[in-house]
């Protein structure tokens, strides 16, 4: 298919709806009924469909959101770094209450889950510009400045990259200087099969956390006869506590772009799309610049890098606030301008992906790693890490430690070493790979971090984040924060995830209030397992992971939370609370 036609295909129809909605949202602060009608007519949809899309993404609003729209992060890391105080200060200074706009329509306050700045919490987005390391005085100053006419753009922070550690002795894979075009030239020399062979040899696997072998994915896409094909880069890292992709895009965008191009070259695709999460809108200019730069150098466009007949172009698609869109099939739906609901596994994306055409979706880090492997050669790459798990891994460290930030570790490092590097403060409970990952107790600190057999339970396979909690943190509060997150981020399409997360939250509240007994704990475990076995996508399947793991690992803690007077027959029931409403009618 000629390149122009592919271009037309990806820039026409409903695929552009999200962009148009973004324009309206940014221009007016909300999307009004007339605009929804217009958009529906334009795309030949019923209004309810457009409304469905708008209501799915939490950065789209149907009511005005104020001249300055403030999104404060309510993730657990923000919570332990003083979220409550910041929240109060924002409310006091702006005169608005969270979830609404003040009377003058100047400030709109909203809560949002993790915005990818866990290393500099508390943080907020004001008109999508980042403000980090907030404290009460800083918040006051910001609001004052805005009231005095400053623009958020002019006073926002440039978030630090905080790359704290790379393997000593020039061994960094991700953060050394990247020579534009070199990896692509190497890829051409090897040919498509050679690239796949190199990926197979280096055992590169999906770094978003699923660890599906990359070579298998690329090979399957290569073998598809349907054209055009697509390369999609998943830059929707919504997992609370994870920010490695932010730092990669900020510092190594070119290696990511080239990784996508190599993929395109290998599978025979002509177009790539980067799905960037809405929270990272402030990174978009930088990314666009990098893409433009590649175009100018002749690396993107026609006959890229002087490879005859290899045409490839890339565009950036902004997400609009939805965690589940990090799930690959939900991401595809969102790219098509629809609600980000995960598809069933009836087809795989490599068979029928974006616009029902063969598509490879990989994480930012995977593309960066692929480019680096081609750049440095498989042999050199394999000198790092451990057998069966070569290379290095980026880990976002946050929470109770002195040096939160990005750690590029060689696979095989132990948890203890990592905790030492970041100077963790009396660590007790560590959440690996975000709320959907595994939680480990400090007793397991000698476990290695690798991609090796997860079932053996010897090594820890990490999707990219370490949230460290010390002994003062209440585990149930952490779990409640996670459960609130999953409850509101579930796409709502399947029963176990939509209803299950709600039900689990109620039960945890009971536990938190000291009303639960041993049977409640058993039920939590069994219900969590049911959700795991029956949910439609990874969100529901993993939502209760940390709950189940923590109940296995912190039995004493949970026992201490139980209702001690439970006699097996009478359940705890708070009569005072239950009759409180009626007591108002006391004469």
């Amino acid at each position: 298919m000629p390149a122009e036609t592919v271009q037309q295909l990806v820039e026409s129809g409903q695929t552009q709806m999200l962009n148009q909605l973004w324009e309206l949202q940014l221009k007016n602060g909300f999307i009004n009924d007339d605009d929804i009608k217009k958009i529906a007519e334009q795309f030949n949809l019923s209004t309810i469909e457009v409304e469905g899309v708008v209501s799915f993404y939490h950065f789209f609003h149907r009511k005005p959101t104020g001249k300055y729209t403030i999104y404060l992060n309510n993730s657990i890391i923000a919570d332990i770094k003083g979220f409550k105080r910041i929240k109060e200060t924002f409310e006091r200074e702006t005169g608005a209450v969270f979830g609404s706009v003040d009377r003058t329509g100047t400030f709109g306050l909203f809560l949002t889950p993790c915005i990818g700045l866990s290393d500099q919490e508390p943080s907020a987005l004001i008109n999508f510009y980042p403000f980090t390391n907030l404290n009460a005085i800083r918040v006051k100053d910001i609001i004052n400045a805005l009231n005095n006419g400053a623009t958020p753009e002019s006073i926002c922070d440039a978030p630090a990259d905080n790359i704290r550690y790379t393997p000593p002795g020039e061994k960094s894979i991700f953060f050394k200087k990247f020579e534009d075009g070199k990896a692509l030239t190497h890829a051409e020399k090897l040919g498509a099969d050679g690239v796949i062979e190199a990926l197979k040899k280096t055992e590169l696997a999906g770094r978003g956390g699923a660890y599906f072998p990359t070579w298998k994915k690329w090979k399957a896409a290569k073998e598809q006869t349907t054209t055009p094909k697509f390369v999609v880069c998943n830059a929707d890292e919504g997992e609370p506590g994870t920010f490695k992709d932010r730092v990669l895009i900020s510092t190594q965008a070119t290696s990511m772009i080239e990784g996508m191009m190599i993929c395109g070259y290998t599978i025979g695709a002509e177009y790539g799309i980067i799905y960037l999460r809405g929270e990272y809108r402030w990174l978009k200019p930088k990314l666009d610049e990098a893409i433009d730069d590649y175009r100018k150098k002749g690396l993107l466009g026609k006959d890229c890098g002087n490879i005859k007949g290899f045409h490839f172009d890339i565009r950036v698609q902004m997400g609009a606030g939805s965690y589940v869109c990090g799930e690959e099939t939900a991401l595809l739906e969102s790219l098509e301008g629809k609600r980000g609901e995960p598809r069933t596994k009836w087809f795989f994306p490599v068979e029928k992906g974006y616009l029902q055409l063969p598509t490879v979706i990989n994480n930012v880090e995977t593309f960066c790693a692929a480019a680096r492997i081609l750049e440095m050669g498989a042999e050199q790459y394999m000198q790092m890490g451990i057998p069966g798990s070569p290379g290095t891994k980026l880990i976002s460290v946050s929470g109770d430690c002195k040096f939160p930030g990005i750690y590029e570790i060689e696979w095989g490092m132990t948890v203890a070493e990592l905790l030492e590097l970041c100077e963790a403060d009396d660590p007790y409970y560590i959440q690996v790979s975000g709320p959907s990952g595994e939680c480990i107790s400090i007793k397991e600190k000698y476990r290695r971090i690798s991609m090796l057999d997860l079932l053996a339970r010897k090594d820890i396979r990490c999707g990219g984040s370490f949230m460290i909690f010390n002994k003062q943190r209440d585990l149930v509060k952490v779990l409640l924060n996670f459960s609130e997150f999953f409850k509101s981020e579930s796409c709502g399409i399947c029963t176990p995830c939509r209803a299950g997360n709600f039900i689990i939250q109620r039960k945890l509240e009971r536990l938190d209030n000291g009303l639960a007994n041993e049977k409640d704990l058993e039920e939590l475990k069994s219900w969590g397992t049911i959700m795991k076995n029956t949910s439609r996508c990874g969100l529901g399947k993993t939502a209760t992971n940390s709950l189940i793991f923590s109940m296995e690992k912190f039995t004493d803690y949970f026992r201490g939370k139980l209702d001690k007077e439970y006699n097996g027959l009478n359940l705890k029931f708070d009569m005072e609370e239950a009759t409180e409403d009626y007591e108002k009618y006391k004469i």
Binding site: S55, S322, E489, G492, T495, S535, F573
Partner: protein
Amino acid sequence: MAEMVNITIDGKSIQAEKGKNLMQVAKENGIFIPSLCYYEHIEPPLGTCRVCTCKMNGKYNPACTEKVSEGLVVEVNTSELTDTRKALVEMMFAEGNHICPACEKSGNCDLQHMGYELGVSSTRFQHLFKDRLIDFNPQRMVMEHNRCIKCLRCVVEVKTSDGKKVFNYQERGNETFVGIDYEQEAKLTKEQALNAMHICPTGAIIVRGESLAAPFGDRKFDMESVQKDYNKKKTTHKNRPPVMGKKIVATVSLAGCFGCHMSLLDIDEDLLDVVELISFDKSPLTDFKEFTSRCHIGIIEGGVCNSENVETLRKFREHCDILVSLGECSVWGGLPSMRNSIPLSECLEEAYLNSATSEPGANIIPYHEDLPKILDRVYACNEIVKIDYYIPGCPPDANHIWKAVKNILWGEEYSILYSEFKYD
């Protein structure tokens, strides 16, 4: 001729067309896999309700999104899987506000039917009582959001003649609901509207002026189970030490209507046995106000709506070896729990101050130290004390009650007939 493959379902070898939907293959071979969202001609399948979850080659997956392939080994009826499916159906009951006795679709409802087939007599989950609206705005239909299980059937299937969607999901997470487009809805033909009502597995889509009502017994799911061995399933309770002499039974009606007690009397000539075998202690039938002895069994009708109910229920727990929840209200709150999604103050003010019959300014909301205090919501009995058995129904079938009670007291084996197991 399509390629045939060999698969195994619960140990049974089956030949099937390659790539065919497993739900279809199972159905053709007389194997029942419960499901709510699956609709034969929707492709790709919806895969939203997850009730058909089975084990495929050792992995959990819904049957409706599985294409059969050579050597596929499917497990359908293991105790774990049956329980999982039951849990999913229970989740739907707990999540929505499903009040069968007051629903137009009762008896013709797929959700209710799955409840019967899976023997759901109570939900293990606390009901969520989320406040949901009933949308009367559409011209032709009424959208009852309380009953929607978000199966996606109507979203995918119902379109106007010019191909536009009428229904679509709105919001996300636990706020998700199926929105209806008023403009497009008005364009539907009568047939299209009726089709929407019929493909809805619950009573969420109701077409104005159209009745679903049929006499009890003539409704779609009243009499026959789709599982051949349903009525053969014997239920037996673990052995209890035999009790000598007459069994002592206590009964009470809390926040109920006494309908369940009426149903008790419907066992007809078996009442003569009751007189021989049982003596009643505290019960409205004897009018004993206090317990006079320890009882073998306590039968509770009605949920818990005030402080007196709480005390009475606790007393029952103290004085009875076994407690049985009788009827919908007792099992999960039932009709009185319709107030649970509305603040208590609104309920009281509506009932005592603003009702059509009350004179403005003349009435007060009663409050006296001798009056029981009204709780913030209606609680199911198992939220206050441990309940041992549940008998659903509004009211429960008399035979069902008597069989269950006999079984508990004397360990008699019994089977509840499909037609005796009802929620309405």
